[in-house]
Amino acid sequence: MTDPEEPAWAGEELLGAVEAILMVTETPLATEQLATVLGVPVPAVADALAALAEELDTSPRPRGLELREAGGGWRFYSAPAFAPAVEKFVLDGQTARLTQAALETLAVIAYRQPVSRGRISAIRGVNVDSVVRTLLTRGLVEEAGQDADGGATLYRTSSYFLERLGLRHLDDLPPLAPYLPDIDTLEDIDGTGEGE
């Protein structure tokens, strides 16, 4: 089974093996990682994942789970249709809505990363220290080194952010409004808030 010459798993056995590993993983699993562990070519694993996801999506009875790729990997999720039932059992408050302030700050970080708090403040017109701390605590953003100029801490969104929003990559973010004014001009404006 661990013979390096021969794919270890194939066909329905591969489906089962992938399914079994997905049951015990804590984090989203990249296709490549599964392929390495199983000793199977990446395309075969990709096919298996797609087949498992489709099996759930096309099940004759309403299924309680779905398999999705988000935040850099695949993972089982409970099906949204059963959210009312599931919410009572999930304790970590994931259902809590983000405040408007948190959403706006998250949006600026998502589209302008890596970005300093001073820059975010300049765009939003308010002090954002407390909101950024909250986003850090919730694991939605993380530090991304220091600004080359002023040494201000920079922030970026985390892979948990992607996963939590059901996005595979940052590229999946919807485009910013097309009427956004000329960025170069605004760089200057933003720069004024940097001193913070």
Binding site: L22, M23, E26, T27, P28, L65, E66, R68, A70, R75, F76, Y77, S78, A79, P80, A83, V90, Q94, T95, R97, L98, T99, Q100, A101, A102, L103, E104, L106, A107, A110, S116, R117, I123, R124, G125, V126, N127, D129, S130, T134, G151, A152, E163, R164, L165, G166, L167, L173, P174, L176, A177, Y179, L180, P181, D182, T185, L186, I189, G195, E196
Partner: protein
């Protein structure tokens, strides 16, 4: 943290937010109904996450395009909203005041006769307007993006990831832990984690607000000079200002003095030097500041505690 203005409940769409009393009269019937039983001026700043938010909301209320805003109306409303605030977080107040000052500036410019753009000050004014609109447009774009994120957040929030502890059978397979630390190390780690964390760089914004420029003080200063000089240009009155904040404060002070009827303005031509002359008595008391400076009563720097931020 719990009392932070940023922890407010999520605000609805701009148009659904409670409006100052000034809107009740102008709002459409349906909106008026929902607003009518609110006491006058019971608008809380917490409904708006910042000055841009307020500005956008006012623009929406008046159904104006952001690029061709009837500034006079919006400016009046903006100032009215600011006046309606009872308690201010200083760092927020300064942002609101900057916007208010810019709006006032632009409103004032509208009252001037239109001419060719020649004067440097005129250009500056246009620049200030463009800058304000650019920032407002940018904010509006991010507000829209925030709404998109909210939609994605809520959709994804209805499905929960499987992230469970390892089955006992599998956990038993894990290699025996090497406990690389002893009790003393553990205590040190705990102390480090529990100790007050130094505020991350950038949290201290006190230098941005110090010194706070008091309109009341600037009014007294200007009144003193005008009593002596009888007549001076705005340029002269601000030649020793030292910072933009002081210039703005003196401009506001002049408007206040004008309202009290102790100064008059005079301008040779459009965009010419603004000449100010004292029309009050030599010993006339001035009474400026209760509107502009009452955030001072809330204590400036000292009260800007953690909860306020």
């Amino acid at each position: 943290m719990a009392t932070s203005p940023d922890q407010q409940p999520p605000a609805g769409p701009v148009t659904a937010e409670p409006a100052p009393a000034t809107y009740v009269a102008t709002a459409e019937g349906q909106e008026a109904e929902t607003v009518s039983d609110r006491p006058v001026f019971q608008v809380r700043l917490e409904n708006f996450t910042g000055p841009f938010d307020l500005l956008l909301s006012l623009i929406a209320k008046h159904k104006l395009d952001v690029t061709e805003v009837a500034l006079a109306v919006v400016t009046d409303d903006f100032i009215a909203h600011i006046r309606g605030q009872e308690a201010w977080d200083l760092s927020q107040a300064s942002e609101f005041l900057v916007i208010a000052a810019t709006l006032l500036d632009l409103k004032a410019a509208r009252l001037l006769p239109r001419g060719d753009v020649e004067d440097a000050e005129d250009l500056e004014l246009l620049e200030a307007r463009d800058l304000l609109f650019a920032r407002l447009l940018q904010y509006r774009a991010f507000k829209q993006a925030a709404a998109d994120l909210d939609t994605a957040w809520q959709r994804a929030g209805r499905s929960f990831p499987r992230q469970v502890a390892l089955e006992p059978r599998l956990a038993a397979l894990l290699p025996e832990l090497v406990m690389q630390i002893g009790p003393e190390d553990l205590a040190q780690l705990a102390a480090k984690a529990l100790a007050p964390r130094p505020e991350p760089a950038g949290v201290d914004v006190s230098h941005l607000h110090a010194p706070v420029v008091s309109v009341r003080e600037q009014a007294a200063h200007i009144a003193g000079r005008l009593r002596r000089l009888r007549r001076a240009s705005f340029r002269t009155l601000t030649d020793d200002a030292g910072s933009t904040a002081v210039v703005v404060a003196r401009f506001l002070a002049l408007l206040e003095l004008f309202r009290q009827g102790v100064v008059a303005f005079d301008q040779a031509g459009p965009l010419g030097d603004l000449s100010v002359h004292w029309t009050g008595g030599q010993d006339e008391q001035i009474d400026v500041g209760e509107e502009y400076d009452d955030y001072d009563d809330h204590g400036g720097q000292q009260t800007r505690t953690e909860e306020d931020q």
